[in-house]
């Protein structure tokens, strides 16, 4: 068998994707069920001259990767619910200061310490709105290891392109499950490297003055351009400002750079959605069960389809509206109390068509759970 075929956990697939994308600095703190990401990187990064550090807490890990990103490194941290809560402060900083970085959250049950070793998808809305203040963010997910790899690479590419933190929102089942991963050849997936300024030494460099295409070329700390980075509202020099025009323009920029590119940022997979009477919408490990239901129903000749979301935020309203247009029934399959279901209801016409099939008890949602929901929705009883 080829060396490029691995049989690994999802957390390891994430590590492989990150290294493929050029990760060379990781800071983390042990937490179930994401710990394997840190363990693997402590082994792998020094071999390529990269840096791994286990910090004193989750907050410190998030801050350390921001510092390392500013010196020109591709950076990542990994955590789960309680740690993700702690990282929100610095995540907001990375949004405000426009620092490329990737944050992995392998979800477990919450709130609070919750259920550390069991699955949940309860952090969907936290990943969108966990940090305070108006902002935009990109959140990606995946249901299998090949996609975990691809979405991890994409997370780094988006982070570098738009100077933004990107959240990889996996779940315990995907993180810990073992399955096949085929490593792509180097170059098979395009890698976006940091856009550095072409402004020469001695000429004023404005770290927060967007180019015509909206991108902000960076200059590494330690390079020839010295500038200020802050979490306060700031002008094009990076210097704090309370000028209402500066505040308004910066906030618009932070929102628009991602929200206005929703279509470009949207990744999804669809199975038989074109003629589906009953459209399932799911993501992460739940989408595996949803797909099994669709395949079974299709074999019976029933018109079921699945829209698997891989970009959760910015929420792909247009895509969902379009895919749901012809469906009589829309069933959102997720392991929380209806977080994506809420957005789907906002997206579609006639939201009374939208139903929720869910589990939130730490037990993986199986095809039979979805079948049970479908019976109820279709008025067949249990």
């Amino acid at each position: 068998m080829s060396d490029n075929i691995l049989f690994v956990q999802g957390n390891e697939a994430c590590v492989e994707g990150a290294l493929y994308a050029g990760l060379n600095f990781f800071a983390g703190y042990p937490i179930t069920p994401s710990t394997e990401v840190a363990e693997q990187l402590s082994l792998r990064l020094p071999k390529i001259g990269g840096k791994f550090i286990q910090m004193e807490d989750e907050i410190a890990s998030m801050c350390a990767i921001i510092g390392a990103s500013l010196t020109g490194h591709k950076v990542m941290t990994a955590t789960s619910g309680p740690g993700f809560s702690l990282k929100q402060e610095a995540l907001g900083y990375a949004i405000m200061a426009e620092i490329p970085c990737v944050i992995v959250n392998v979800q477990r049950g919450g709130p609070s310490t919750g259920i550390p070793t069991h699955v949940s998808q309860g952090d969907v809305n936290q990943s969108r709105w966990g940090t305070h203040g108006d902002h935009a963010i990109v959140v990606l997910t995946a249901s299998n290891h090949q996609d975990v790899f691809a979405m991890t690479v994409e997370a780094f590419n988006i982070a570098e392109t738009y100077r933004t933190p990107v959240v990889l929102l996996f779940d315990e089942v995907v993180g810990h499950m073992r399955e096949r991963l085929a490593l792509p050849e180097p170059g098979a997936i395009p890698i976006v490297d940091r856009l550095r300024t072409s402004v020469k030494q001695g000429i004023n460099y404005h770290p927060y003055l967007p180019r015509e295409d909206g991108r902000l070329p960076m200059s590494d700390f330690g390079g020839v351009h010295r500038y200020n980075v802050t979490g306060l509202f700031h002008d094009m020099w990076g210097f704090p400002s309370d000028d209402p025009v500066v505040i308004r323009d910066l906030l618009r920029h932070l929102m628009d750079k991602l929200e206005s590119r929703t279509n470009q940022l949207t990744h999804f997979k669809d199975f038989h959605t074109e003629d589906a009477d009953c459209l399932l919408i799911s993501y992460g490990s739940s989408a595996r069960s949803a797909r099994a239901v669709v395949e079974k129903r299709r074999m019976r000749g029933e018109r079921y389809g699945l829209l698997e979301l891989q970009t959760l935020w910015p929420f792909p309203y247009d895509l969902v509206r379009q895919k749901a247009a012809g469906a009589k029934t829309i069933v959102v399959v997720e392991m929380n109390m209806g977080q994506i279901c809420q957005s789907v209801r906002q997206a579609v016409d006639r939201p009374e068509r939208v139903f929720l099939s869910n589990r939130f008890d730490g037990v993986f949602i199986a095809p039979r759970d979805i079948e049970q929901s479908l019976r109820l929705i279709q008025g067949k009883g249990v």
């Binding site: 801050c63 921001i66 510092g67 500013l70 020109g72 330690g222 704090p240």
Partner: protein, 267 residues
């Protein structure tokens, strides 16, 4: 280089109150860097939140104005990823030792080559004069109207116990010593902590009726003495100034190089 060449004049006037000690410390810090002839592009200044933390933005280095208490963690990321840079972290007393206390002791424990400066004015100035972990009992603050009952940290003892390999203390009155000690701290290979007692005439001074900025500076002269002085033997209440700890232990980034070496050799 002229001192004004280190200043971002565009960003002035500064936010500090008249009589604040932080400008004196900025002066000492810039002169220390100037004496050492470190190129400006080799210096990264990382600060947190508070009056003290604004020092970074005013200076023409790579400057990173971060979150309250977290400066040392951002600085750790900068330093570990680019060990050749000089990383200096000016912090306030609340910033460094209340919200940032955990980061402070762990940065010291790692002995990473960062210069941490605690600008200790014993009060939260920016938010209007609340008591800090360095205020000490008997102080009046906006959140201690009946006087403070919290004991304070001794920064020097804390830093030493946590593993800092260079620990010193001086005051804003002793600006020459500020400059000299900061030079030593920056040159030291490892985690260095310099406590600089500073005055906040606006919030600490007024509320505690200790006079104006000049009175507060004179008071710092009165209550401090060089380490091991005869005056200290006669009056144990005096606070010692000078370098308390200077020792060599493996520096974190250098130690990490050995990790890389072992990893590459396959061990």
């Amino acid at each position: 280089m002229a001192i004004k060449d280190y200043i971002r004049e565009r960003f002035f006037p500064h936010i500090w109150c008249a009589g604040c000690g932080h400008g004196i410390i900025l002066n000492g810090l810039v002169r220390a860097i100037n004496e050492l002839q470190i190129p400006k592009s080799d210096v990264v200044m990382v600060s947190g939140i508070g009056c003290s933390s604004r020092i970074a933005g005013y200076l023409d280095f790579h400057t990173l104005h971060t979150l309250h208490g977290r400066a040392l963690t951002f600085a750790t990321g900068v330093k570990l990823s680019r060990p050749e840079l000089n990383v200096i972290v000016p912090m306030g007393d609340g910033d460094a030792l209340a919200i940032g206390g955990n980061h402070f002791i762990h940065a010291a424990r790692r002995n990473i080559n960062i210069t941490a400066i605690v600008m200790n004015n014993r009060i939260y100035g920016m938010t209007g004069g609340q008591y800090s972990p360095l205020s000490g009992p008997g102080i009046v603050a906006s959140t201690a109207p009946y006087t403070n009952i919290d004991q304070s940290f001794d920064v020097v003892k804390l830093a030493e116990a946590a593993g800092a390999t260079f620990v010193a203390r001086t005051t804003a009155y002793h600006v020459q010593q500020v400059m000299e000690i900061l030079q030593e701290a920056i040159l030291h290979k490892g985690f260095s902590v310099v406590e600089i007692m500073s005055q906040c005439p606006t919030y600490f001074g007024r509320r505690n009726r200790v006079g104006d900025a000049v009175d507060m500076l004179k008071h710092m002269k009165k209550i401090t003495t060089p380490i091991g002085s005869k005056a200290k033997q006669e009056d144990p209440e005096l606070i010692e100034r000078g370098i308390f700890v200077r020792k060599e232990l493996p520096e974190y980034c250098e130690a990490y190089d050995t990790v890389i070496q072992r990893a590459k050799e396959g061990n």
